[in-house]
Amino acid sequence: MSSQPVAVAPVPRGALSQRVGRRALDWLPALVVLVVVLVVWQESIALLHIKRFLAPQPSAIASTFWDDRGELLRAGWFTFQEALGGFVVGSALGILAALVLARWPRLSRALMPYAIAASAVPIIAFAPITNAWFSPFGKTSKIAIAAILCFFPVFVNTLRGLTSVRPSSIELMRSYAAGEIDIFRRVRIPTALPLTFTALKIATVLSMIGAIVGEYFGGDFNALGVLINSRSATFAFEEAWAGIGVACAFGIAFYLVVAGLERVALRGAPSTED
């Protein structure tokens, strides 16, 4: 492709952004949205007489969180451990399976539709079964369901990435008498990394969902999902919402950590965000 100039106007930057710094200013709209939503939420509960249990005021949730913070954070950590375990196991297996299968690109392409169909199965419906296999009160059953949830997107994306290399790149490597392992290291894996990280980010969210849904069907008293459920059942809704907030917080933090790792790993590559 020639190096012809392409005339598409770049995004103009105002004077303010040049002073405050681009990254800080980038977050301003999100902050504004957050503040507006919190204010509207807080006020409309009172104004519209929405029943307490449906959506307590943010201030009530916050104070409840503060009162129970020890218990909530312990429960969040408990559940997060299940999610993390499932994430690690499922993603590792997914990557391994993809690495093995990528050795035979034609076989991979033949199997790909089945792998994708398998990921179309509502795996969450298997949560009661993993509870039956492993004790419902241990972490293992939740790790299992989270692992299964994480496996498929990571496997499919990694395999796709490993096998979607341009033929000319492979030819180039062969002209250097590069062996399969070299081709993997230098061409296939770098091609797959962005797709794998996309799947890993999705897997962080899926792992938390898996853990909490697993807990719904039976779990330790210390688990966050069980805690939220029991509070809902006893109409302690501010407490339930506080638990939901903690679940969100852990999920977001998990996602951001993996997104941060992605940025480090993909230094120099064109970004998929933005």
Binding site: V121, I124, P128, Y255
Partner: protein
């Protein structure tokens, strides 16, 4: 290769793959029981029933002799869940698409909303589901529609993200061409960005189709809705040690439902999206 021959080959492959899976299941079962291994979990008739036990269960009456045989009950349950999922999918996909379009056109909207779109999926839907059902119920909304709303919640996310990505990754040279034609923002959107983004959008719709089924099942479970697959899963879970095959059978039906939704999108994609074939190694 005629279309008929291709279909027969595909069908045969599916049967072969299923055969391999069934064979693997029974083999695993036989090896683990014979050897007495307990890792990763104990294998017996409860944890891994024979495949034929599960299939047989479909044709038996699950509730001591009255009511339809299981497969008929599950079929109706699947239809019920499917209705929730389809409506949820329609709402979620439309909303996700519009959100993606808006975020693509104004960077400030993208910066303002994208973090929350991503964060929205960390809310444990299972915990929020009963609240949504009760609240909408107080507005005289049918319970199934509330579940559809929950399905929409899981559906909008992949569609919004991929629509945004697709609309923003338009070929710069094509954009330059449209500028040369003095085309305005919305013309460029409608005639260039959206058609060019269709492959992205369809790959999201495939994920979204599955998500809508998952959302429907998860929405039903805690909301005491008996008529759908989620309700059956909750029920059979309670009696798992007595009749494990019922839960397994329900799972198989749920799996088929998910795959059916997925295949529907694949079919739609073949009709709507016509692109040059890819060349990959």
């Amino acid at each position: 290769m005629g279309a008929l021959r291709r279909a027969v080959v595909s069908g045969a492959t599916v049967v072969a793959v299923l055969g391999v899976l069934v064979g693997a299941w029974e083999l695993y079962r036989w090896i683990w029981i014979s050897a007495g291994w307990t890792w990763p979990f104990v294998v017996d008739d409860t944890s891994m029933p024979h495949i034929h036990t599960i299939v047989q269960a479909l044709f038996q009456h699950p509730t001591s002799g009255f009511g339809d045989i299981l497969i008929v009950q599950l079929f109706h349950a699947a239809l019920f869940t499917a209705k929730e999922a389809v409506v949820g999918f329609a709402i979620g996909a439309t909303f996700g698409f519009l959100l993606g379009v808006l975020m693509s056109q104004w960077r400030v909207l993208q910066r303002g909303f994208l973090p929350y779109v991503v964060a929205s999926q960390t809310v444990p839907i299972l915990a929020v589901a009963p609240i949504v059902v009760v609240y909408l119920g107080s507005l005289n909304v049918a319970a199934w529609f509330s579940v559809a709303v929950i399905a929409a919640y899981l559906t909008f996310f992949p569609v919004a993200i991929n629509t945004l990505r697709g609309l923003l990754s338009t070929d710069r040279r094509a954009l330059e061409l449209m500028h040369a034609f003095a085309a305005g923002r919305w013309t460029i959107l409608w005639k260039l960005r959206v058609p060019a983004a269709l492959p992205f959008i369809f790959s999201a719709l495939k994920v979204a189709a599955t998500a809508s089924v998952v959302g429907a099942i998860i929405g039903e479970a805690p909301s005491s809705i008996q008529d759908g697959l989620g309700g059956y899963i909750v029920n059979f879970n309670q009696y798992y040690t007595l009749s494990p095959q019922n839960l397994w059978a329900t799972n198989i039906i749920a799996a088929l439902l998910g795959i059916a939704f997925f295949l529907a999108i694949v079919g739609a994609e073949k009709v709507v999206v016509r692109r040059a074939p890819e060349h990959v190694a």
